[in-house]
């Protein structure tokens, strides 16, 4: 088992193998992600029971929570990829870091937007400088900072390494920001889903939520793989296998 994982790790570190891996996985991953997300959203938005106090407005949770968790996970993943890129100088980690940023930034924006829409009927305001909202806003700024830095540097490897350093510093910063704003009075509800212990959400509402979360994460993963595949091709455009791939005589040509 451990050996298989290790072999996988080394193989996926090779751009060429990674390209093949993407081509093998994506035709399955994209439809599965879309179906899972559609099931979760339809179940949550149409069939899940109405909440006692918030009525139907709570249903935005099925978009809000998956988007927020996706944005947070994406940034942590960027931090990990950044550390790997800086310490082991692994090319694929640089590619992944670049691929993770755009969808994560969009998710952070979606999280803020849906949060604002949800806040109006329940808290009576679109915006409040509450700990979690502030943290998400700063997360969005950090995403945009990484994208800006990456686009400012011409050389792709240098851009990726610079973004790696910023991502690692940013992850430390996110943790401090979270605690620094927590002592302000917080309006946000506590976490409803817990890994350990009893979740304070009814099963009939929980399962569609978990399914939509899974669906959105899969979609994120698919998006990352598509972006990473394109980046690999662009970086390796001078190598033999890419030339062969896109050469008109090479059969099917490039995808």
């Amino acid at each position: 088992m451990w050996k298989t994982i290790k072999r996988w790790y080394h193989q996926l570190g090779s751009p060429r193998y990674f390209y093949g891996f993407c081509n093998a996985v994506l035709p399955w991953l994209v439809p599965i992600a879309l179906v899972v997300l559609a099931v979760g959203l339809a179940w949550g938005l149409a069939w899940a029971p109405v909440e006692r106090y918030q009525g139907d407005s709570y249903r935005i949770i099925y978009i809000h929570v998956p988007a927020s968790s996706g944005a947070l996970m994406g940034y942590i993943a960027m931090g990990v990829a950044g550390l790997v890129a800086l310490v082991w100088r692994m090319k694929m980690a640089e590619v992944m870091l670049k691929a993770l940023a755009p969808f994560g930034a969009v998710l952070a924006a979606v999280s803020l937007l849906t949060g604002a829409l949800w806040g109006k009927p329940t808290w009576g305001t679109y915006w409040q400088w509450d700990a979690r909202m502030t943290s998400m806003l700063i997360l969005l700024f950090l995403y945009l900072g990484i994208i800006a830095l990456q686009s400012a540097i011409r050389d792709p490897r240098q851009a990726a390494r610079a973004a790696s350093l910023l991502a690692v510093v940013g992850v430390i910063n996110v943790v401090i920001v979270k605690y620094s704003v927590e002592w302000l009075q917080t309006l946000h509800q506590g976490a409803t889903l817990k890994m350990v212990g009893e979740s304070s959400i009814n099963d009939a509402m929980k399962y569609p939520l978990l399914i939509s979360m899974l669906g959105l994460w899969l979609l994120y993963a698919a998006n990352v793989l598509i972006r990473a595949r394109a980046e690999v091709l662009s970086r390796e455009r001078r190598s033999g296998w890419v030339r062969k791939l896109v050469a008109p005589a090479g059969g099917k040509g490039g995808r």
Partner: protein, 223 residues
């Protein structure tokens, strides 16, 4: 190695000392920005005292950030930066000397003048020492964290605004705790805990920051 450290420190101090504009301008900027608040808001003492901690801190933050833009640029143009990176010592050694010199001649003056600006912003006199200590503890963190951004953008000609986009989100914890300490003191509550947190952030920045700055410089040099 410590010989090189002292030599770098002396070089940096001499350089700034001989072109004092770099030292005076952030200070001038700090004073000007803070004095914009009473003009823009209203000269009512209660209102000013309410916004004073945030206003002074935001101005200090911007002053430090703007002063950092040129931190490595002149060295890069003169080639001194390449010398620093190829020298047979760990890059952290000259980098940490540079950061210390920069803080001594920009951050420290900001902290020293902060009580005066706080007084002009109608902060109670009893709070001014807390303001000074918080700026004293906060500005080194701002210098180190901002230097990471400056190191990463040193080779780009449109550094200024990009540096702000990169660095300002990273400054938020210092701003929250720094202004928070002063507000807590205004409410007459004990401030030791929050000052300790500022100190803890400073310890973290001092221990990991110079390494990150050195790494950033290497990345920018195309290593």
């Amino acid at each position: 190695m410590s010989g090189i450290w002292w030599a770098s420190l002396r070089r940096e101090l001499t350089l700034i000392w001989r072109a004092p504009a770099d030292m005076v301008q952030p200070l001038f900027f700090f004073v000007v920005v803070v004095s914009l608040f009473p003009l823009g808001l209203s000269p009512k003492p209660e209102l000013l005292a309410l916004v004073a901690p945030g206003a002074v801190w935001v101005a200090a933050l911007l002053a430090v950030m703007l002063s950092l833009d040129g931190l490595f640029r002149r060295d890069q143009e003169s080639g001194a930066l390449d010398q620093m990176l190829t020298a047979p010592v760990v890059t952290v050694v000259p980098v940490s000397a540079k950061l210390l010199a920069h803080w001594l001649l920009t951050g420290l003056p900001l902290a020293l003048i902060a009580p005066l600006l706080g007084y002009m912003m109608q902060l109670p006199v009893a709070v001014l020492d807390t303001l000074m200590v918080s700026v004293l503890l906060g500005t080194p963190t701002l210098t180190v964290v901002g230097a990471i951004g400056a190191a990463l953008t040193v080779g780009l000609n449109r550094g200024g605004i990009l540096l702000a986009v990169l660095v300002l989100p990273l400054y938020i914890p210092v701003l929250v705790f720094g202004a928070g300490v002063v507000r807590t003191a205004q409410d007459g509550l004990p401030t030791d805990g929050l000052l300790a947190v500022l100190g803890a952030i400073l310890a973290l920045a001092l221990s990991l920051g110079p390494v990150a700055v050195a790494l950033g410089l290497r990345i920018s040099a195309g290593d």
